[in-house]
């Protein structure tokens, strides 16, 4: 498959996943901030700062905002102009990319992505201030699930589909890992490990569904350790880092089997070692500073996989369409 | 018949790593009636294989590609050329201006009679042409030599006032330019009158002056009865043995010393140094 098309599909899926994750986490943070420890003035540290860490970069956030609170962070995450990974920015990019490879996507999938983007038009930032964050996040999540469903139902499992799968799950792995990293650090600084605030767990799990899934596995122990273990290592929960990295590895293997990637490519080696790290961690007792260590190594590994893909697979095809290309292309005479 | 040793070095600096660079060099002199090339060599840095071909105007072209990242590109051409003075026929030789109307002349030299990228003769160029008082009664050669002198008078040689892409109309309006501009103007006024004219790029030896040498542009006009005669509106003296021809075309666009394309940051700077000296016989 053309390197450019593969890269474009990869990013279409990745940006869409990023937008959905952020919408979900924003929604969860919003409810977490209303209860328990967080509502007593500790919201900034317990809820909003960690969200900034997951969604972007604390340093660049602090360049334009004085502190992380219930006003600045939602803005930053949804439409923040200073945030290249805001929900709006991600949807924009995803749609632009999808449009450029429109003839490689089933019509319905393209239309679904286009509709998701069109939702943004109905949501001027002022409306979020007025109506709050929930309706917006819910809309974004629903549109993105629709696209996901269309992809699952109507796309042939060819190279294009595999690259989208790769992008989606690599993004999800990274996002989950960062989530644990942010929350875990926040939690262990504060009150003792036995004192667990239900509100903050919910924020850590991201949403009610995750909470329910967790309860199926381990209802008794509600601790940062067990929660983080669940999010990192559960082999069945589709948002766990282990699950996602497994999908990444499978996608790469399938691509190699389709001759869409050269045998034993660098990304595959990296994905396998990531899996090894996870499996090793699963066999040992969980907790303490090793968790932080593992998180850092896994996050680094995710970045490396992305870089290896860019170099070997997408053959770093320089910039996207340089400015002016559309105008020039439209003027070509077809006599 | 001097033996001239010329060296032309172009250095291009990029504001960061550049790559995927593909280029064409037109800096290799060829043998013709007025010069014989004893030896010539082109090299580039970073090193690259040079592929040679001859273009539509008979110019020697070297093509090369640099894939990998580099921040500096050096192109160097060196040659030893034996030159002879151009013939200087008396004004009475050659034909009449009326012979420019000969359909065979027009058909043969059509591409040097029509406007080209840098050469147009509307507006200010036409006005300048009308204002010049050139003698049409003493033959085509006298006419074009007169034009040569007039262009020299009309434009003050000034470096830095114009750029490679400065339109000819601006040159005329401002009255300043360099050899490229003066050559284009002379070509425009020749073509306007119906005389075929073309652009020559080359090296100029400056004997006795304490300067290394020069990249230069001058003109060739098809004078009825005599063929292509070299003229230089920048120094209206016979294009003699101090001139080494590199390439010829309709105008500058056909003969850039270096053209190409690359992917990367802007060009920070470009330096060209030309050095021409006479060797012992």
């Amino acid at each position: 498959m053309l390197a450019r098309v593969a890269e474009t599909l990869y990013w279409t899926a990745r940006d869409l996943e990023r937008a959905e994750n952020l919408a979900r986490l924003l929604e969860a943070s919003q409810s977490a901030a209303l209860e328990g420890d967080a509502s007593n003035g500790a919201g900034g540290r317990l809820v909003w700062e960690p969200l900034v860490q997951v969604a972007g970069d604390m340093k660049s956030f602090l360049l334009t905002h004085r502190r992380a609170d219930e006003r600045s962070v939602p803005w930053f995450v949804t439409f923040g102009r200073d945030n290249p990974d805001s929900i709006a920015a991600c949807l924009n990019r995803s749609r632009e990319n999808a449009r450029s490879v429109r003839d490689r996507l089933p019509t319905e999938v393209w239309e679904g992505i286009n509709d998701a983007w069109l939702e943004l038009v109905d949501w001027p930032p002022a409306r979020i201030t007025r109506d709050g964050v929930y309706p917006f996040c819910r809309t974004i999540r629903r549109s993105s699930y629709l696209v996901l469903g269309l992809v699952e139902q109507s796309m042939r499992r060819d190279e294009g589909w595999q690259f989208m799968r790769l992008g989606r799950f690599l993004e999800r792995a990274e996002r989950s890992a960062r989530l644990v990293q942010g929350r875990y650090a926040a939690r262990s600084d504060a009150a003792g490990l036995d004192d667990v605030d239900p509100g903050t767990w919910r924020a850590m799990l991201g949403d009610a569904t995750a909470h329910e899934a967790y309860l199926q596995v381990d209802a008794a122990a509600l601790s940062p350790e067990s929660l983080s273990r669940f999010l990192m290592l559960d082999p069945r929960y589709p948002r766990s880092v282990a699950f996602c990295l497994g999908e990444v590895e499978n996608a790469i293997e399938d691509l190699v089997a389709m001759d869409a990637m050269p045998p034993n490519p660098a990304p595959m080696v990296l994905a396998r070692t990531a899996r090894d790290m996870v499996e090793t961690a699963a066999r040992k007792p969980w907790g303490g500073p090793e968790v932080g260590d593992l998180l850092e190594r896994l996050l680094a590994r995710c970045t490396s996989i992305d870089a290896a893909l860019a170099e070997s697979c997408f053959i770093a095809s320089y910039e996207r369409a340089p400015a002016g290309q559309r105008a020039q292309a439209s003027r070509q005479a077809q006599n | 018949m001097p033996r001239l040793h010329a060296k032309h070095r172009t250095e291009i600096r990029y504001a960061g790593p550049a790559g995927e660079s593909v280029n064409e060099i037109r800096l290799t002199p060829s043998d013709n009636g007025r010069q014989r090339v004893e030896w010539s060599h082109v090299r580039v840095e970073p090193a690259a294989e040079l592929l040679s071909h001859t273009d539509a105007f008979g110019n020697a072209v070297s093509w090369f590609q640099l894939v990998g990242a580099h921040e500096l590109l050096v192109v160097e051409s060196e040659a030893i050329v034996v030159t002879t003075p151009a013939p200087r026929p008396p004004a009475s030789e050659g034909g009449d201006l009326s012979e420019l109307d000969d359909p065979q002349y027009i058909d043969r030299w059509a591409e040097f009679l029509t406007p080209s990228a840098h050469v147009r003769w509307g507006g200010p160029v036409a006005e300048l042409g009308d204002a010049l008082e050139l003698n049409e009664d003493e033959g085509a050669l006298a006419w074009v030599r007169g034009l040569e002198a007039e262009v020299n008078r009309a434009i003050v040689y000034t470096t830095g006032a114009t750029r490679v892409d400065t339109p000819i109309e601006d040159v005329v309006r401002a009255g300043v330019g360099v050899c490229q501009d003066m050559a284009h103007l002379m070509i425009a006024l020749c073509r306007r009158r119906g005389m075929a004219a073309r652009y020559i790029s080359g090296w100029l030896h400056l004997p006795g002056i304490d300067r290394p040498g020069e990249s230069h542009a001058w003109v060739e006009a098809a004078v009825p009865g005599l063929g292509w005669i070299e003229l230089d509106p920048t120094h209206p003296e016979p294009a003699g043995e101090d001139y080494v021809r590199l390439a010829v075309g309709r105008d500058y666009t056909d003969v850039p010393p270096l053209r190409g394309s690359y992917i990367g940051p802007v060009t920070e700077g470009m330096d060209v140094v030309v050095y021409v000296r006479e060797l012992p016989a």
Binding site: R4, A260, M261, C313, A327 | Q65, I106, T114
Partner: protein
């Protein structure tokens, strides 16, 4: 009794006027030509509203499938008229032979011009004319494409005058467009009007993409076992992008943009996720100058640096080769009959439209004296612009044009106004006569093959002679009937 044989009127054709033009379908009022009698009688079995309803269905199908042409920034379906245009077998034999001959000669001419230039030396075409063509690409001088072939796909525009004589109006040898419509129109016809096919033996056109692919593969440099072909498009912003994508998909080859390709060691490669793959043939839909920013237009964002040298080294075939514009220049058109005689030593089979070269004194004098009867056209890029249809222009417009001609005679040619033939086109629930032309496609692999029929283009406005898609024309399916 054969329905519709003699003056039995059909409601669909109420008030249809032949009006002194050559009508493709009718000899006289309600009198279809022999070729069209079965079609006419078939129509008699349909209610007018049925025909209109089927037309509407086809329009919607075009829109849903996104088969559009970018018309001034808006995507619109290319209007399609459901009544086919018929060409009987014997007429087609003549056209087929004439088109193949013409394309063969033009290819030889281009190859000769970038090579030994014998035609110019022998006075067949004046040097002055060809060397000042906008399509003259100097970088191609001395470059020999594989097998010496320059032209691989041609669209030759034909018209019929009011005596019913077929004439070549214009050659298109650079990026001729419309082949996808030929194939798609036929597919839609089958669905919308199946009963008509039962009454006729129609030469198929569905294999046209295969013919194109064969021609492209045979253009590959020698020694390449299974040549890799790609379609090079300027991208989705181009008006004809739909066609580029369609043809690539039908031929089963990748659709690529300039940035998907790379030159290494003067060979062309495709950037794929599995590494670089060699490319042997490029079916390019990008204008000459934009193909190589290193050697040609340095401002091009669409091409591939190094392509020119890869061509020079014979490592890739560009189809159509760069530089073919010298042969489809409107001024060179006047010399094509002589070109055919010189290169093929045959008499031209197809007639042309009598053409005057305004660079020639006698021609110019005649044209300036008769502008109200003639069509004056700018020769691309020789500084001319526009089109004057003498009989339709005001005296003011003619004067303004005459001034331009006097200032730049090389920039213009003039032709007698051809009273283009007309064909019935559905307007509302009735047929009305509209002017049509025909663009057959010639695919030239080892030998020229003409796709049966071609694109019949329709000027949708009453009285208009302008048929091309960018200015609001439409099309019809064209049926070549087997003997």
């Amino acid at each position: 009794m054969t329905f519709g044989e003699r003056g039995i009127p059909l409601p669909l054709f109420t008030d249809y006027e032949v009006d002194g033009f050559f009508d493709e379908m009718f000899e006289g009022p309600d009198q279809p030509r022999e070729t069209y009698r079965r079609l006419y009688s078939g129509l008699s079995r349909l209610r007018p509203s049925t025909f209109a309803a089927r037309s509407a269905l086809v329009d919607r199908a075009y829109l849903t499938q996104g088969i559009t042409f970018d018309h001034g920034g808006r995507e619109q379906p290319f209007p399609f008229d459901l009544l086919p245009r018929l060409i009987p077998a014997d007429e087609w034999t003549h056209l087929d032979a004439g088109l193949a001959q013409r394309v063969r000669a033009l290819d030889r001419f281009v190859a000769d011009f970038y090579g030994p230039r014998r035609a110019v030396a022998d006075g067949v075409v004046p040097n002055g004319l060809v060397s000042t063509c906008e399509g003259y690409l100097r970088a191609m001088v001395g470059v020999e494409p594989p097998l010496g072939r320059f032209v691989h796909v041609a669209g030759i525009d034909l018209v019929r005058d009011d005596d019913g004589v077929w004439r070549v109006l214009e050659d298109n040898l650079r990026c001729p467009s419309g082949l996808s419509y030929v194939v798609q129109n036929r597919a839609f016809m089958r669905r919308a009007f199946p009963e008509a096919f039962g009454d006729h033996h129609v030469e198929p056109v569905g294999h046209a993409p295969f013919l194109l692919l064969s021609a492209l593969m045979s253009a590959a440099p020698e020694g390449r076992e299974s040549p890799r072909v790609v379609v090079l498009t300027p991208g989705p912003a181009n008006a004809a992008y739909y066609e580029h994508a369609f043809l690539a998909q039908q031929m089963g080859v990748p659709l690529v943009e300039g940035r998907d390709l790379a030159v290494r060691d003067r060979r062309v490669y495709l950037r794929t996720t599995a590494g670089r793959e060699r490319v042997d043939v490029i079916y390019r839909r990008i204008d000459d100058g934009f193909l190589d920013p290193a050697s040609l237009r340095s401002d091009s964002l669409l091409g591939l640096s190094g392509l020119m040298q890869a061509c020079r080294d014979g490592n890739v075939a560009v189809c159509n080769a760069m530089g073919t514009g010298v042969a489809d220049d409107k001024a060179v058109y006047a010399y094509v009959p002589d070109i055919i005689r010189y290169f093929l030593e045959e008499e031209p089979i197809l007639e042309q439209v009598p053409t005057y070269l305004l660079g020639r004194d006698e021609d110019r004098a005649y044209v300036l004296a008769n502008m109200e009867r003639l069509v004056v056209k700018a020769v691309d890029g020789a500084g001319g612009y526009g089109l004057l249809i003498g009989p339709h222009a005001t005296p003011g417009e003619r004067q303004a044009f005459a001034k331009r001609v006097r200032e730049n005679p090389r920039g213009y040619i003039a032709q007698e106004t051809v009273r283009l033939s007309r064909a019935p086109v559905l307007v509302g629930e009735r047929f009305r006569a509209r002017h049509v032309d025909l663009r057959p496609f010639v695919v030239y692999g080892e030998r020229p093959v003409v796709v049966p029929g071609g694109l019949t283009r329709v000027a949708l406005r009453d009285g208009s002679l302008v048929v091309n898609s960018s200015q609001g024309g439409g099309s019809k399916d064209t049926w070549v009937l087997s003997a």
